[in-house]
């Protein structure tokens, strides 16, 4: 495992401090095999006893760095990031399933969206019953969302909880 600073999580903004600065223990991020894991220090200390090539995963995987060093957020980070999300998008029950299958969200499926969402802002996608469904990227600002036609894409899909079934074997 290597320690590295990374600058990636735009969807929760200032609230990322709450992930680092927790009252119930010291949690940290570690980089291992191009993946970023979030774990408590206790787990970290235990994990040092395993050799690097034999270690598969530690704590929860937040995401990974792709071949071109872009950070890609994984669905396993949802439980940690959802409560701290600044910009949220609620999706209608009809298009919920479409999103869970990996499709983008169209204007016709958009229920609510937080005001002042800028374009290409990372957002957390919720169902109408406030169940977090996954991550996305806002394709249009909130103002533009109001004006655009119903078949236009408003949120790009990044990760959804359907991936737990679809990519069962690749999730760490």
């Amino acid at each position: 495992m290597k320690y590295s600073q990374f600058v990636c999580v735009s969807s929760i903004g200032e609230n990322i401090k709450l992930l680092i600065d927790r009252p119930d223990g010291t949690y940290c991020f570690r980089l291992h095999n191009d993946r970023v894991y979030y774990m408590s220090e206790k787990i970290l200390k235990l994990a040092t006893n395993i050799s690097r090539d034999k270690l598969v995963s530690v704590g929860t995987c937040f995401g990974k760095f792709t071949k071109t060093q872009k950070f890609r957020l994984h669905i396993t980070a949802l439980d940690f990031l959802a409560p701290y999300a600044k910009f949220k998008v609620w999706v209608k029950p009809g298009s919920e399933q479409s999103f869970l299958y990996g499709n983008h969200i169209m204007k016709s499926g958009l229920g609510r969206i937080t005001e002042n969402t800028s374009q290409y802002q990372g957002v957390v996608v919720y169902s109408m019953s406030d169940v977090p469904l996954g991550f996305g990227v806002a394709a249009k600002t909130t103002q533009e969302c109001r004006k655009v036609d119903p078949m236009a894409i408003v949120v790009f899909h990044q990760a959804d909880i359907g991936e737990y079934i679809r990519s069962e074997d690749t999730l760490t």
Binding site: C28, I113, R146
Partner: protein, 346 residues
């Protein structure tokens, strides 16, 4: 009178016909010189300047051009014709007028190393045949190139000479020798080319570097300094020279289980810097404001045109905001509305 008009019409028709079938024969004092290869015609007849000056000369020029073109086409019709895809085409002969060069004449290339030597020694080029008799295959084969006559790399049996190492691969040796000859030939050819174009050729080793920047020179100095047996440990420094700190490593990682407190502090500081760097979204705010104003204006216009509909129910200041939302299609419920309401009545 009708009859007059009919006569006039007929006369006009006759004149038009005559115009069309104007004679294809043109009378000229001097015959034109033709070069059908270039579709060229020289007219050496004198031009009457008086005719040119009357009527601004345009008509004169047009008639002159028409006559000369007619003569040229007559000349083309004299040539042998053939039919290509149902079109009659005249076969043009070779052109006779020489045209000047388009580009400057090529400069003579400087002689290659061999050519210089041959000239010095007086060696003449001997003409060789392209095809040589190959005794083994009993057929005529090329002297060199693909499937050549006496190709020693293609032999199936090579006797190991007495002086050679018995474990050496003779076939591989021959292949390697061939590759080396090819490479040397290519290298010499490129040297000849460089000499011809007066390009500086690097000798054995590194290519010559042109003007180097300050950083490149500094890097070269640092590399040279550590290129000693003791990796630059006992190299003397100039009085005010500083040792370069970057040892060439690309990235330095913190230890895995370092001080957690300091790690936390560093991360929080980083986040603080990230937050402060975010510029105020003035552009998007301005754009949003503009869009809201436009929506309001369009809502007002629609309100005016649909008189009754607009005045239904509670269309007050608050209502206006909602009306705008409805006009624009689905708007976000709840949260989004409040900022609009403040903007108030118009």
């Amino acid at each position: 009178m009708a009859s007059c008009s009919i006569e006039d019409v007929l006369a006009k028709a006759e004149r038009d016909e005559a115009e069309k079938l104007r004679s294809i024969t043109v009378n000229k004092e001097l015959d034109l010189e033709f070069d059908p290869g270039h579709l060229l015609a020289f007219d050496k007849n004198r031009i009457d300047t008086r005719e040119f000056k009357d009527n601004k000369g345009e008509d004169f020029l047009r008639s002159l051009a028409r006559d000369n073109t007619q003569l040229l086409i007559n000349e083309i019709w004299k040539l042998p014709t053939e039919k290509v895809e149902e079109v009659i085409v005249a076969k043009l002969p070779d052109p006779t007028t020489p045209l000047p060069r388009e580009k400057p004449a090529p400069k003579p290339k400087p002689p290659t190393k061999w050519e210089q030597f041959a000239k010095l020694k007086g060696i003449q080029k001997k003409k060789k045949t392209n095809i040589v008799w190959d005794e083994v295959h009993k057929e005529w084969k090329r002297r060199w190139g693909y499937k050549r006559a006496n190709d020693d790399t293609k032999e199936w049996l090579i006797e190991v000479p007495v002086t050679a190492d018995p474990n050496e691969d003779q076939f591989a040796k021959r292949n390697k020798a061939k590759k080396e000859r090819v490479a040397r030939n290519e290298y010499n050819r490129l040297k000849n080319v460089a000499r011809a174009q007066k390009i500086k050729v690097p000798g054995m080793g590194l290519a010559p570097t042109p003007q180097q920047s300050k950083s490149e020179l500094a890097q070269a100095v640092n590399v040279a300094k550590i290129s000693t047996a003791s990796v630059g440990k006992f190299q003397e420094k100039l009085p005010k020279e500083k040792t370069s700190k970057n040892t060439g490593k690309k990235r330095k990682f913190q230890p895995l289980i370092g001080d957690f407190g300091s790690e936390k502090q560093k991360q929080l500081d980083l986040l603080k810097v990230m937050d402060s760097k975010k510029p105020r979204l003035d552009v998007t705010k301005a754009v949003n404001k503009q869009m809201r104003e436009e929506d309001r204006e369009s809502a007002q216009k629609s309100k005016k045109s649909f008189g009754k509909k607009g005045r239904k129910g509670n269309m007050s200041g608050k209502g206006k905001g909602k009306g705008k939302g409805m006009a624009g299609g689905k708007g976000p419920k709840g949260k989004g509305r409040k900022p609009n309401m403040k903007q108030g009545k118009r």
